[in-house]
Symmetry: C2
Subunit: 281 residues, 2 copies
């Protein structure tokens, strides 16, 4: 369990000592979050994270703290921690009982410091297919909102799975129409006919910050993918803003060796930001 030392709590532009039990994050998951890498005391892509938060806040009509104040607070925590993960959660303030958002209350938000996750296996990730399917909800698609029970259920599939499956590193999710969308905590890219593709997120899924960087850097295409398309792909990788590009070596019965295009994509991402320079590839 994380200790309270790892958290800083705020209401609007003021630090506070505790959490108001009436804020709507607890009751409704009425909030947004960002999970950010900290490298050498700085936050890669802070501007992109903040832009996504702003875009989500506009869609949910959620008030954010002052941008400059939030950036200063996050930077101070990153500077102190040097290497790790910084998570920001912005919840809608209290509004009494009932779903009506009411007048725009100040954001109740927090910064949390976490250790870097354990290094991915050097031979590549082992994935499984999740039985959990994502609901199609265009009103929330793309947002990194705090309604994450689907991800909790999906991730629980292999926390409790039989010993033979316990070694899966991540799980791929389809939506209820059978289209591949993402992993539980990462986006997915596949190489098909020499071109990188990633699922379109008009119906569900989170539009990851690293995904956005790679769409530009790789000239990748958003498309509709089936599980068969992934299986037939020449290469597959997962990505997120904490770990960068993670090559996939196994998915159920399928095996991939590291593709030169994946190694090149990792070098490209390392050129974009030194936090993501591949160790050896």
């Amino acid at each position: 369990m994380s200790t309270p030392d790892h958290f800083r709590l705020y209401v609007g532009d003021a630090a506070v000592a505790g959490i108001d039990p009436a804020h709507r994050g607890i009751a409704y998951g009425d909030g947004l979050f960002e999970t950010m890498r900290v490298h050498g005391g700085a936050i890669p892509w802070w501007d992109r994270h903040w832009a996504r938060l702003q875009s989500g806040a506009a869609r949910l009509d959620l008030r954010l703290p002052d941008a400059a104040f939030a950036a200063r607070e996050a930077a101070a925590m990153a500077q102190a921690g040097r290497e790790g993960v910084l998570k920001l959660i912005c919840s809608r303030g209290p509004g009494g009982r009932g779903y009506a958002p009411g007048p725009q209350a100040d954001s109740h938000w927090q910064l949390a410091w976490h250790l870097l996750p354990v290094a991915a296996p050097s031979e590549g990730l082992t994935l499984r297919w999740c039985a959990t399917r994502l609901a199609r909800q265009p009103l929330l698609a793309g947002l990194k909102h705090c309604n994450r029970l689907e991800q909790v259920l999906a991730r629980a599939e292999w926390a409790d799975a039989a010993a033979s499956e316990r070694d899966a590193d991540e799980g791929l999710l389809c939506d209820t129409a059978g289209h591949v969308i993402c992993a539980t905590a990462a986006n997915v890219f596949v190489l098909r006919a020499g071109r990188w593709e990633t699922p379109a997120l008009a119906q569900c899924g989170v539009a990851g910050v690293c995904r956005g960087v790679l769409l530009d850097a790789l000239g990748a295409q958003e498309t509709v993918l089936t599980p068969g398309d992934v299986d037939a792909a020449d290469a597959v990788f997962l990505c997120n803003a904490v770990r960068g590009i993670l090559p996939v070596a196994r998915l159920a019965q399928r095996r991939w060796t590291l593709h030169p295009a994946t190694a090149q994509a990792r070098r490209l991402l390392g050129d974009v930001h030194p936090a993501f320079v591949p160790e050896i590839s």
Copy 2:
């Protein structure tokens, strides 16, 4: 804004002074809730509320506090308040960063006291159709879970609507397949061919406690309903465990006068529990 006096906070079977910022209710809406009427210092249908919570907790693999302890705490708060609304939220305890639920941490839960809502208009409710549609997710359907952004978006539709629509009391929601499911904070029953029907909730919606009571008491049927079916119904009412049966008088252009079957249903519910005896009907 509610004052802290209105809340009691717990971890497992112990009262605590504050909220752990790491609990997963805030991050993921990883929890369940119950909204209960308090009448004469008692809680109608406590056993049904607890049974629903247990059923939801089993589906989400969420640990609940001890049933007898929770019942005593809720009863004490009801006894002190006499007339009002008691809301219970059970969130999954902290588990570090990431979606994996991890070992079953003690529930972080709270009881909140609220005033009764303003009385419904004696002539019946005015409803609107919400543009927001509910996603179809059988894994979460029926549960009163804390992922409620769809309801927040739906309820915001008329908080900000033009003055001419501002007098809507509630909104009806369809799912993305176009089937009528519920109101934002109530279930719906319609009278068709002399029989009460209510939407089946296999794909989405909350299986309300009052809905469950009325399915039994009225011999009602669960079915698939379109907006046209509701429009053509002989009578419509909403219901929930706080307000009982609320007759509907208007829905867009449609008008209904109070149907004898609705008046009879209200008397029936009043026989089931004195909290719901209709004042005049």
